[in-house]
């Protein structure tokens, strides 16, 4: 038997381990500003990782470097053990954009956007096959947007908009999914639906990297956290990294921080303290006298 090199593409895609390896990455922009310096972290398949840091800490630069928009001045990024350009060519990295980056008046319907996920797997004329249409239907069904498929994208709520772009990354069958602020402007119901979907994708071996200000939800569903402030301050399992000490180092006074305990909270001798950390979205609440995330999470505040 002669192996078929043509069909090897799709077959090996499934066996590829979705991994991100950032080693001693330094990115310097044209104007001489160094946005990221000597950053390193490793991520394995089946992971949901939060990328956390203040604005300007280099989160979007890391995303840009993974998408090949900026070239490293030093160090390197490897995706699935290969160079970035090669992995992008094979349509393996899906990107869920921030809402501000999209022109919501663009004349495309929901199903058109999801179909864009398939373009990398079509021939040069981008004529959809039966498989492409099936994948789009399936993706729309999975995010619960089938009923809205013929709507123009501007006619959706914040949460629905996010789900459309998530459906596009499903249709794309990307092994690595980058999500830029997926919870901004999203109602609680959509947030839960998105998190459930991310968990399913994790179980299927995908790797998700999420840039977020929504600190409260991080311990809920992220296995790992990369704390960023120009360089990587800490990276590892959420319970070890997502601690009050580390967060204070990462945010250095930018976070709203409430620490309640003793007489301020109750009248008995209970030594536990309540700490609330918030970066303007859902706050992180820490219980107990220790300073690590317990994984317990308070009920979500209701949005108006």
């Amino acid at each position: 038997m002669i192996p078929e090199p043509a069909s090897a593409g799709t077959n090996t895609d499934d066996n590829l381990h979705a991994s991100i390896s950032v080693r001693n990455l330094t990115v310097t922009y044209g104007n001489g500003f160094t946005a990221v310096e000597n950053a390193s972290f490793e991520l394995e398949p089946g992971t949901i990782c939060a990328l956390v840091g203040v604005n300007g800490s280099g989160k979007s630069t890391i995303f840009k470097a993974i998408m090949g928009f900026v070239q490293p001045a030093a160090g390197e990024i490897r995706l699935c053990g290969r160079p970035v350009a090669e992995v992008l060519k094979r349509s393996l990295v899906a990107y869920v954009p921030q809402s501000e980056d999209i022109d919501w008046n663009f004349p495309v319907l929901v199903e058109d956007v999801v179909m864009m996920g398939r373009y990398g797997r079509m021939n040069l004329l981008r004529i959809p096959s039966r498989t492409d249409r099936d994948k789009v239907d399936e993706a729309l069904e999975r995010v619960g947007m089938t009923a809205y498929r013929s709507r123009q994208i501007g006619e959706l709520s914040g949460g629905q908009k996010k789900r459309v772009f998530l459906a596009r990354s499903l249709a794309q069958e990307g092994r690595i999914i980058l999500l830029d602020e997926p919870f901004t402007g999203v109602d609680v119901k959509s947030e839960t639906a998105i998190i459930d979907l991310l968990r399913e994708l994790r179980a299927a071996g995908h790797l998700m990297l999420i840039s977020t200000h929504n600190l409260g939800s991080v311990p809920d569903f992220c296995d790992r956290v990369v704390l960023l402030n120009k360089t990587v301050l800490a990276a590892g399992p959420t319970a070890e990294v997502f601690t009050q000490d580390n967060l204070e180092r990462a945010f250095g006074g930018v976070l709203r921080h409430f620490n309640l305990g003793g007489a301020a909270l109750h009248s008995d001798e209970d030594p536990r303290r309540l700490t609330v950390l918030t970066d303007d979205e859902r706050p992180l609440v820490l219980y107990g006298n220790g300073k690590s995330a317990s994984g317990e999470s308070p009920p979500k505040p209701h949005e108006k």
Binding site: G68, F106, P107, L125
Partner: protein
Amino acid sequence: MMAELLVPFSYEYMAKAMWVSALVGAVCAFLSAYLMLKGWSLMGDALAHSVVPGVAGAYILGFPFAIGAFFTGMLASVAMTFVKQHSRLREDAVIGLVFTALFALGLLMASIWPTSVSVQTIVLGNILAISNEDVVQVAVISAVSLGILVLKWKDLMVTFFDENHARGIGLNPGMLKILFFTLLSACTVAALQTVGACLVIAMVVTPGATAYLLTDRFGRLIVISVALGAGTSFVGAYLSYFLDGATGGVIVTLQTLLFLAAFYLAPKHGVLAARRRRMATAEASS
């Protein structure tokens, strides 16, 4: 009566004018679908004015106008990039500066060294008197551009809609943008021949803007836009025979009339439809 209406077709120069106009109108309309979505509409205007000295120079020195136009088009983009990088001026000021400077130079050249091409021809176009060599140039530019657009329209759409995603599916957005602007420059040069430097902007904005009011799907937008561009250009050239008016003026007036019709009557995005919806909601809530 009927015979009278067919008269323009019996003149070779009229037939040529109508077909060339339609072809140029079609490809400009195709580009307009993209241009107006990105807020880059005035780039078309800037380009059309910037290539004037190149066109004038080409006629004076006697080589194909497309080469001269290409040369000054490149000069314009280099100049814009240079001024922008070395000053704190905003982009619109830089574009305004560079294109008017080149346009003035072009007018000066054409008036100091009078040749077969008059200032009026450059500014207003003169499709009725177009030479056969120029017809070949215009036809080749338009046909090649149209071919590339038909092959690449979806890739360009993704690039204009979401550059990050374009990268994620293995496209090269930088190269696609360069391709787009190269086509735009080439087609503004072609349109220069039909409607003149002043009205090129209408050719690369109005059909797309009209179609935008009529549909929510990009593929249909392109089809409507191209149909409008080709149709108005053909009919415009035809009518100019009877009206004895400048072809460019007739074409752009037709395009504007269709835009106004869409603006008021479009089924979903028109002014009247919006008013009906407002009334319906007011009724429902009362």
